[in-house]
């Protein structure tokens, strides 16, 4: 099992890294929403799914040039995220957290059923964007251009996001709101607006993730978001939910480990999807709030 060549290993690592970057883009959305609302946004994976359909419609059906289409996809997805927040989460601001969670489950249910009616359950094939699916050779390693673009895209967006959160006024408002709504309000922060911005950014990142995901797995159906959504959520939890850098580390770790497992133990490839959960549970047992999560102590 330990006989392999270096190019083989690099090839697999490149694959793992691509998947990891995709996970990261979606995981950030989960972690940001959790950080500010303490809500597992079960609808995030369906926002991801809707985004894939938007892309299909803009490029394949309306045949727009792909750069224009991409901008429209990101805008439409961000809008969808904000609308969901306004309609389903804002009315429950003062409600117990469990109501919020159930509302998220309800939205997820609604979006999946809506997609089945609007787009039918027949799988659609995802359009190729630019030359991302083209294969290139670097030394002896043959990878799709995607494997180069995805990490670059992820790093650029991550740096931009960290800048937004740490250096701008909006980011400061986000950080304040994630500590305490009441105090943030007293400091003159518009909490509702801040939460909207969080959903906007998280959904936009999910849209970017969805487009790249579609290049690797070009099939769309109403439940396409469920598995990647779960994995990204797991990645966010592994990293310590609420922590953006943690989400990225968790996502990259999950992506690479998953690919390496399937590569080295191909007999276990049927258990690939279970593997993510096993890592998750193993980590939660030893670090109940994830790798970089804050530890909460209940006070009486």
């Amino acid at each position: 099992m330990f006989t392999f060549t270096l190019p083989e290993l690099l090839q697999q690592l490149a694959n793992g890294l691509t998947i990891g970057c995709l996970y990261a883009l979606v995981a950030i959305g989960y972690t940001m929403v959790y950080g500010i609302l303490r809500l597992i946004n079960f609808a995030h994976c369906d926002i991801f799914m809707m985004s894939m359909y938007f892309c299909y419609y803009f490029i394949t059906v309306f045949s727009l040039p792909w750069p224009v289409a991409l901008v429209l996809v990101v805008a439409a997805t961000a809008l969808l995220g904000v609308v969901i927040e306004k309609a389903a989460y804002r009315p429950l601001r003062e409600a117990p957290r469990i109501s919020l969670l159930i509302s998220a489950i309800g939205v997820s249910y609604l979006l999946e059923n809506l997609a089945t009616v609007l787009f039918s359950g027949v799988p659609r094939s995802f359009p190729a964007v630019g030359n991302m699916q083209e294969m290139v050779e670097i030394g002896e390693v043959r990878v799709a251009r995607l494997a180069i673009y995805a990490p670059i895209m992820m790093v650029v967006l991550l740096v931009a996001l960290l800048y937004l959160i740490n250096k701008t006024k909006t980011g400061m408002a986000m950080r304040a709101a994630s500590k305490d709504f009441e105090t943030a309000r007293l400091m003159g922060i518009n909490v509702n607006k801040t939460i909207s911005v969080t959903f906007l950014v998280g959904s936009a990142l999910a849209a970017v993730g969805a487009v790249i995901w579609g290049q690797k797995y070009p099939q769309i159906q109403p439940y396409v978001g469920v598995m990647p959504g779960l994995k990204c959520f797991i990645a966010a939890v592994i990293g310590g939910i609420g922590n953006i850098k943690g989400a990225v580390v968790g996502a990259l770790m999950l992506g690479v480990l998953e690919i390496l497992l399937v590569w080295r133990f191909s007999a276990l490839s049927g258990y690939k999807d279970a593997f993510a959960f096993i890592i998750l549970i193993a980590i939660l047992i030893f670090k109940p709030t994830g790798l970089f999560g804050e530890t909460f102590v209940d006070k009486v």
Binding site: A95, G106, V107, S108, Y109, V117, I281
Partner: protein, 364 residues
């Protein structure tokens, strides 16, 4: 205690009438519903059982567990494989033969249900050790994860579960009598449990863990009891479901199945047994009743063509409405009582009167 005596006899009379109705329908003495409606009623009863199982953990003990689908899968597969005849199993497992010992095993329905429930409970016991130390959302995700792991294992164990092709031709032993009998048994069991010292301990844990611990309640032990019992009930429910639907695949038990059950619990009211029973019937029946939406219909001049899936969209919109504007569900954490019913009926004219009275005031 005149009221208690009256309530007792009312309960006995209503239950006897109900049991008689079920038995008569089952034996075909009164044929006022067809086999399709019987199927739906069976599902209603099964969802009642599943709802109770989830309400025990989520509503009464305050543990947000989403692992119900996994426990149902265990119960369903164990029951299915134990009640099928050996030669039928041989036919169903045509890709890879079934393990010989499992192929030869056959037992009566009640024993198979019990075995399914027991195995679920045993699995819950082992899952409980790592999982019940987690809190809130982390617990939800870990239990959901275990449910998915169980499903994925079932997808891959070809010689035990027939993998993704699932198990077909399960004998339809579960009839109205079985489903309603077990559902009634579970309701009685839950009522007894909730009013026992264990039930009080569960509720204390739900309301405040630290206070409960200070009162001398062993948190982990009681959470474990609740979790195991819930898994047992879910396993039995899964077993009944396997027999009612007659074909099961691992993908039937996706974690989203837990959402369906959760919606029943929430709609009925977290922590209300009455609520769960009512909501299980309302939701299961409503899903079927809304079927006309899929087939196309017309409202006045407006004609809506056939749109498959519209039913589920309307259903989810209704659910969202309830979640957003009617958060307590039908019953909150209240239970049905004869006293409450009589008081409600007595109050009814006055309530309606008040309604009109207010209208007049507003008009003026």
């Amino acid at each position: 205690m005149k009221g208690n005596k009256r309530d007792f006899w009312l309960t006995v009379i209503v239950l006897t009438l109900f049991a008689a109705l079920v038995i008569l329908t089952q034996t075909g003495a009164v044929a006022f519903i067809d086999s399709y409606q019987i199927h739906i009623l069976n599902l209603c009863a099964i969802y009642t059982i599943l709802g109770l199982s989830m309400n025990l953990v989520n509503g009464f003990t305050g543990l947000f567990s989403l692992g119900q689908a996994g426990f149902m899968a265990i119960g369903a597969y164990v029951t299915a494989l134990l009640i099928m005849a050996p030669d039928v199993k041989e036919q169903v497992f045509y890709v890879e033969p079934i393990e010989p010992w499992l192929g030869a095993l056959q037992c009566p329905f009640w024993l198979a249900l019990l075995a399914g429930g027991m195995l679920s409970a045993v699995v819950a016991f082992f899952i409980g050790f790592p999982v019940l130390r987690l809190r809130g959302d982390y617990l939800a995700i870990a239990t959901l994860g275990f449910a998915e792991i169980i499903r994925i294992i079932f997808l891959n164990t070809q010689t035990l579960t027939n993998g993704s092709m699932g198990v077909k031709s399960i004998p339809p032993t579960a009839n109205l009598l079985w489903c309603f009998g077990i559902a009634a048994l579970m309701v009685l069991f839950m009522l007894r449990l909730i009013h026992s010292s264990y039930g009080r301990a569960f509720k204390a844990i739900r309301d405040d863990e630290i206070a409960a611990e200070a009162m001398g309640i062993n948190l982990f032990k009681h959470k474990m009891y609740s979790f195991i019992l819930s898994a047992f009930i879910a396993g039995v429910g899964g077993g009944l479901m396997a027999s009612v639907v007659s074909a099961i695949t691992p993908n039937l038990f996706r974690f989203t199945l837990a959402y369906d059950i959760l919606l029943i619990v929430v709609l009925g009211g977290m922590g209300s047994i009455t609520g769960t029973v009512v909501a299980a019937f309302v939701i299961t029946a409503a899903k079927e009743w809304l079927r006309w939406l899929d087939e196309g219909f017309s409202i006045g001049p407006l004609t809506v063509p056939e749109i498959p899936g519209l039913r589920m969209v309307i259903f989810s919109v209704l659910l969202m409405g309830i979640i957003l504007f009617y958060r307590q569900g039908f019953f909150g954490s209240k239970e049905f009582s004869w006293h409450g019913l009589f008081a409600f009926v007595r109050e009814l004219p006055r309530r309606i009167g008040r309604l009109f009275h207010r209208d007049k005031k507003e008009a003026a």
